[in-house]
Amino acid sequence: MKSNSVSATRHSRTTHLALVFVGVCALVFASAPLWAGANILRLLTDFFLYLSLACLWNFLVGYAGLVSIGQQAFVGLGAYGLFTLSRYTGLNPLVSVLIASVVVAALSIPFAALLFRLKGAYFAISSWVLAEVLRLTAQFIPQIGGSSGMSLPIEAARALGAQPAVRFTTIYLAAFIALLMILSGIYFTLQSRTGLALTAIRDNELAARSNGVNANRTKLIVYVLTAFGTAATGGLIFLQRLRVTPDSAFSISDWTALVIFMVVIGGVGTFEGPIIGAVLFFLLRGTLADFGPFYMISLGAVAILIMIYNPRGLWGHVRDRWHLQLLPLNFRILSKQDS
C-alpha cells in the first residue's frame, strides 16, 4: 500500500443517503405550517427545542467531556434576558433572544474561569450550584419580578403576530431555524480542527496536549458555544410560554434531567444519539403521559435498562454493531481503485 495510491474521505454511500434524508426532513418540517394543525405545530416546536437542548448537552458532555448538570443556568439566563429586554427596550422578541444569547455567551467566560478549575464530579456539582445561585439571585431582584417572575409584555407577543395561530407559526419557524443552526454549528465544529481536538481530548487528554492540542481553549470554545445555543433555546422556550419564574427558568429537572435522559438513551458522544433519544422520549411521553406517576416510573425504568444493557445508548450500539456512520464525520482511507 502506497500513500499516493490512497485518499482520505469522509463520504460513503450511507452518508450520501443520510444527507438526502436530512434534506427531505428539513423540507417537510419547514413546510409544516402549511399542512399541520396548531397542536402538531406546538408539539413539533416543543420537540425542536428539547432536541436542541439535547444536542447541546451532548456536545458539551459527549465531546468536550464537561459533565455539566447546570445547563438550566443558561436556559434561565436566556429566558430572563428575553423578558428583561422586552420589558425595558420594546425590541422584537426574536431580536431580544439573539442579543440575550450573545450576552449569556459572554457571561459564560467568567463562569468557565470559575468552573474549569474543577474536574469531573466536582465540575458537575458546581455547575449545578451556579445555576441554583442564579435562581436564588433572580428571586431577589424586584426589577425582574422577584420570585413571582414576569410576563412577556403584550406588545412583545403581538410583535410575533396578532393572532395566536400566527404567533405559534412564528415561534415554530424560529425554533426550527434555531435547531438547524445548532445542529449545523455542532456538525461543522466536529468536522473542523476543533472537532479533531475534542475527540482526542475525550480519548486521552495528556496525549492530546502532548500532540499540540490546546485542551483548555478547545473546552472553552465548546462551553461558550453551548451557552450561546442553550440561552437561545431557553429564550424561545419561554417565548412560547409567555411567562417566566425563577423556578421554571432554572429548573434542573426540566432543562437538564430530561435532557440527560434523552442523550443517555440515544447515545452520548454520537451526533445521532440525542436525535434518537429525543424522538424516543417524545414517543414515550405521548403514549404514557396520561398514566400519571407511572409515566415517570417507566421513563426511569427505560433509562436504567439501557444503562445496564446498552451503556453506549441505542445509537452507540447500532453504530458499533454495524459500523454505521450516517454523517460524514469520520475519515475513511480508501485505495483509489476502490473509490
Binding site: M1, K2, S3, V6, A8, R193, L196, A197, T199, A200, R202, D203, N204, L206, A207, A208, R209, S210, N211, G212, V213, N214, A215, N330, F331, R332, I333
Partner: protein
C-alpha cells in the same frame, strides 16, 4: 553552536526522592542522545520536565535559547518538541489515521489538506497504512508503538523525545522502528532517547548519559560510557550486546 535543548541547574524531587539535583545538560541540534539509568532513577521524569508535563522545583529549561519553563505541554509541542510515551497513549476511539491527523493539524499546525498528505505519508513509512481505518485502541503493542512514533513525527518535531520505544518488543519487531528512527535522525531531528534495550539504543545514539541519584554520572561515547566501571557497577548484570 548553540544548544537546541539545555537543562540548567535543574532540580526536581518527589518528597524525599531527588530525581534531579542541579542537573546540567546541553544537547546540540541534530545530536542523538541516549539516557540510561537504573529503574526509578527518574529518566521519564526528566523527559516530562522537558516537555512540560511536570514543573521543576528549581532551575531552567532552554529550548533554542528560549527559557520555556512557563510554557504548557502543547506550546512546547508546537515549538517542535515531541514525546513518544513509554506506554503508548493512542486516542483509542479514533482511527489510526485520525490519531496522526490530530498531531499534524495541532502539533504541526498544518491545514487539512497538508495534514492529510503528511499523515498518509508517515503512515506508509511506519507500515501502518493498512491499519489506517482501524480504531487505534485495537492495535497490537508493536503497532501502538509505531503509532506513538508516527504521531510524534506528524507534529514535525525538531527534538524527538523517545521513552522506551523498543521496550517489550522482540529484536525483530524493534528493527523497523529503529530504521524509522534512523531515518528521522538523518533528516536532522535531534533525538533524546531513554531505553533499556541497549542494542536498539546503540544503533542510533552517538552520545550516552547515565542518570543516577539525581546526577549524570557519565556522559560521552556510548561504548566508553558502558565500559566505565562506575556505570557497570550500577548496571551490574546487564550485558552489553550492542
Amino acid at each position: 553552536m548553540a544548544a537546541i535543548l539545555a537543562l540548567r541547574a535543574l532540580t526536581k524531587s518527589f518528597g524525599a526522592i531527588t530525581i534531579a539535583r542541579d542537573l546540567n545538560l546541553e544537547i546540540q541540534e541534530g545530536e542523538a542522545v541516549g539516557i540510561l539509568g537504573p529503574n526509578g532513577a527518574g529518566k521519564t521524569t526528566i523527559l516530562a520536565l522537558m516537555t512540560g508535563a511536570l514543573r521543576p522545583d528549581n532551575g531552567s529549561i532552554e529550548y533554542e535559547g528560549l527559557d520555556i519553563r512557563g510554557m504548557s505541554v502543547e506550546e512546547r509541542c508546537r515549538l517542535g518538541m515531541a514525546r513518544a510515551f513509554q506506554i503508548p497513549q493512542p486516542f483509542g476511539g479514533m482511527t489510526v489515521f485520525e490519531n496522526v491527523m490530530v498531531a499534524a493539524r495541532h502539533g504541526a499546525g498544518l491545514n487539512a489538506k497538508e495534514a492529510q498528505a503528511i499523515s498518509l505519508e508517515l503512515l506508509e513509512r511506519s507500515g501502518l497504512l493498512p491499519f489506517a481505518n482501524l480504531a487505534a485502541g485495537k492495535l497490537t503493542l508493536l503497532n501502538r508503538k509505531r503509532l506513538e512514533l508516527t504521531r510524534a513525527l506528524a507534529t514535525k518535531p525538531k527534538v524527538l523525545l523517545l521513552d522506551e520505544i523498543a521496550g517489550g518488543l522482540s529484536q525483530l519487531e524493534s528493527e523497523d522502528l529503529i530504521n524509522l528512527i534512523l531515518q528521522v535522525k538523518e533528516s536532522g531531528v535531534t533525538i533524546v532517547w531513554i531505553e533499556h534495550v541497549l542494542h536498539a539504543l546503540l544503533s542510533v545514539v552517538s552520545r550516552t548519559l547515565v542518570l543516577y541519584q539525581g546526577n549524570f554520572i557519565a556522559d560521552g561515547d556510548p561504548h566508553k560510557v558502558l565500559a566505565d566501571p562506575k556505570v557497570s557497577e550500577i548496571y551490574m548484570g546487564i550485558e552489553v550486546d550492542g
